[in-house]
Symmetry: C2
Subunit: 508 residues, 2 copies
């Protein structure tokens, strides 16, 4: 509790209250980082976390995110927390509008936590969790009081907070862990799902409804097969897609199970019939990991005017130390993904607008064997890589990204035909991250047949899509700038590889 | 097939037929290896594979193993294959008796494959697979004819082979993959289990019986739940222990399943009620991995006169390249383990005779935190390490073995309390081995409570026993000689560690 207390001693309500030179000092240090991304959204300083209020409004995409630009500031340390606000016409180039919401009212004074947005009339309705603590003068007898807060943003991006909380926690039978409202509309009613912790310290999702956005009633917990699953569910998101109901959430407190649930906190979804919004009944199957990589959390979806369901997420995790902290920033977003349902599971692919980033193209067609082959590309890691791989005639095929000249360092992708397994190995790839949670991630993969692999590489990340996004692995990689080579080989037999590599420009 | 053919061009029946200087050249090169084990059995040159004929006879333990002392010889290359023979009074110090069986008859001319031994009267009965090929003049139309061969060894260790095969393959309905007889006696009848491949290319174990060791009848396949499991079962071993029936075997062709079955070939067992030896009916549960480490295969058990069930195994795998090949040898044995049944599962511990190897003892009692602590021991890796670890108050605890001075290289053991998982990570530990099969092995481990860990370290191996041998991980490690340090730390909380380390002498 003492950390929390120390954190709030220097809390300021508005970034504008901090001397400009202190803000700029952070930004200038962050600029020095060799790990700055080319086309992924990241913060210009401090910490970036959950995406919030992801929406389409006023002819543009809006993305907010959990933002503490001074999180790593020192002498003096300032704590300032809120939502960063970005807008985009194409999901690729983003205009930075600075602070979108700040923690400046009695309802959110200790943190403007996560939430969502929905266009209502000619405004954008924002719904988020205001975090507050009572009894803060005590050493360790603090009590968390979460408010679900409403606000309206107009076309000039001016936000008006509602001073009457929509819901106040803790609710009876639950603890103060009650947050992350995701709003949606169906049949002229508004609904939201929120993460909540029961008094018996198990996690759940709560469904609430309203007809006017002011007066909210509790429908009840989402009644899914997996309601007893972890000690807290964060960032739930319910939506309907391709005639299915989907509940995404981030359970905390899952033990590892084989090659599943290896990260400190998890992400995933339940899929089934559409939810009964009167009762919260949700007839669904097992919990599936949405992203099986090392760094992925707090995903949030939106539906755009083209009818696409688009996913955004934090390519990072709470409580994990990243080497960018040395440069006083941490976290980035994934590249936005379009979602569909295929064979009863979510499949993901980068939104087509990525083509706006395309520059030079490099095509290769190779027969692989024991001899290491370098695959031709430009000398930087900003790439959209599309591969067709047939390794059915070899024990395994290895693809090394972020490789140095003699390939002693690399992010290693292993397609093991003999074990019908895909493994990504981050152990030999620059600065170690979260090693105690393992250096490999893996999944079953049928390699008797040709497979399609797509990889979005950036300066310090890789998002790997297997078989049109049936399995996705996202991860950060902090390696030397010169490590931009791609090598491939196969063992105990030969493999065929076609590679189409598009180098990508920086985002604007 | 061409490799096989080339291999037999220079085949010699007896090691004694090879010029002594060629044999010695191999031995001298092997001696130069920095990876030579201190107390684990390994070959003085060439390849060591499956343990064979493990038994107690004539007041001593007998261990044979698959042996090709000239396997890596060059200009000229000789192929000579058979069983090496060792004897021991204490399972710790072994006398090398040289070639035990060689491939010198029509029944075993292309290889004296694996088998077992049983004392009969005042002789030791040996039962093994003689491998032969027909049509060897053709380029690629060879046919495998496996013979199950009997032989008697007297008290002078003289082996007399029986020239009438006990069984001749392929049997009707099966392929030529029919090998590895493990003999046992019950109610005055002799039985053996053998690995066999059905014509539909699935693996099984065949039960056969005899009253006189000469005339063998086929009882039938072992009828277990898991009879459809892989394309071949090698080295089956049936025994009764603590009132259970146990069938150990090495299935080939299993796909990875989460953190299970990661190695190129597997090892494990079925356990249940005692087998019905009239019908082969075996009422048992699921298949369990016996050893979850990187390097373990072809295990074989024996019962000694003290009534102990003792396990021997090859700490290596077929088709995997080891860096010792540079020194023209490969493979070693595990340190023998005593087996018991606990909670319906096999538990394993090093035989007590390891105490014969004990030299200096180092005891430590430490409170671990973020700061790396070195645990005191001698400057060599021959050790029996006993640990008591309480990491219930930390996210995780890390133990690094084979570490260099600044701990940038190590074999890393991770006890992740938050994920209730044990991980051993070999990625940063000298020369890489079988990386395409993954660099981590892991299992579920309840870390809310104190755990007992035992580790047998040798120059180039580690055998890790969790909770009195409920989970065991064996592996080879090829690191620089100076990497003999042990470090520990814990993260996000503190852990308590008691270490009792016995340095071990070399075996004689």
């Amino acid at each position: 509790m003492t950390n929390r207390r120390a954190n709030f001693i220097n809390m300021v309500k508005h970034l504008a209250d901090v001397p400009e030179k202190n803000v700029e000092r952070e930004i200038n240090l962050t600029k020095e980082s060799p790990y700055r991304q080319g086309y992924h959204v990241e913060s210009e300083s401090g910490s970036l976390g959950d995406p919030n209020g992801f929406s389409y409004f006023n002819h543009q995409y809006h993305l907010f995110y959990q933002w503490s630009p001074l999180a790593f500031s020192q002498t003096p340390h300032y704590t300032q927390h809120g939502w960063k606000h970005l807008v985009s016409k194409n999901l690729v180039d983003w205009q930075d509008l600075g602070a979108g919401i700040e923690s400046d009212t009695v309802l959110d004074k200790h943190g403007t936590y996560s939430g969502s947005a929905l266009p209502v009339g000619d405004q954008l309705f924002l719904m988020y969790t205001g975090n507050t603590w009572t009894n803060t003068e005590s050493e360790d007898d603090w009590h968390r009081v979460p408010y679900q807060v409403g606000a309206m943003m107009d076309k000039d991006n001016h936000v008006e907070k509602w001073m009457q909380p929509l819901l106040t926690g803790p609710l009876e039978g639950y603890t103060g862990h009650f947050r992350d409202p995701k709003i949606f509309k169906k049949n002229d009613e508004y609904y939201a799902v929120l993460g909540i912790q029961r008094e018996n310290l198990t996690g759940s999702a709560l469904l609430v409804k309203s007809s006017d956005l002011h007066d909210w009633q509790i429908v009840g917990e989402v009644k899914a097969k997996h309601e007893d699953f972890g000690y807290m569910w964060e960032c739930p998101d319910y939506y309907e897609l391709d005639n299915h109901g989907v509940l995404e959430f981030c359970p905390q407190g899952l033990e590892s199970q084989g090659n599943k649930f290896k990260n400190i906190y998890q992400n995933g979804y339940l899929i089934g019939q559409k939810m009964n919004l009167k009762s919260g009944e949700f007839n669904c199957g097992h919990f599936h990991e949405l992203d099986k990589g090392f760094d992925f959390y707090a995903m949030q979806t939106m539906r755009d005017t083209k009818g696409r369901k688009i996913l955004m997420a934090w390519m990072g995790l709470p409580e994990i130390k990243y080497p960018t902290e040395k440069y006083h920033y941490t976290g980035c977003m994934i590249f936005p993904r379009e979602l569909h349902v295929k064979n009863g599971l979510i499949v993901q692919k980068p939104v087509d607008e990525i083509k706006d980033l395309y520059q030079e193209e490099y095509d290769s067609e190779l027969t692989l064997d024991e001899k290491l082959v370098e695959i031709k590309a430009e000398e930087n890691n900003r790439r959209d890589i599309k591969l067709e791989l047939d390794c059915s005639q070899a024990y395994d095929t290895v693809l090394d990204l972020f490789a140095n000249e003699d390939n002693t360092q690399h992010l290693r992708l292993i397609f093991n035909h003999k074990k019908q397994e895909f493994i990504v190995n981050r152990s030999n790839c620059g600065i170690a991250i979260a090693e105690t949670y393992g250096v490999e991630r893996s999944c079953h993969l049928n390699l008797d047949q040709k497979i399609i692999v797509r990889i979005l590489q950036d300066t310090s990340s890789a998002e790997i899509f297997l078989n049109d996004g049936q399995d996705v692995f996202s991860m950060r990689v902090f390696t030397a700038k010169d490590n931009h080579r791609i090598f491939a080989s196969s063992h105990n037999g030969s493999a065929k590889l076609r590679a189409e590599i598009h180098q990508l420009r920086n985002r604007r």
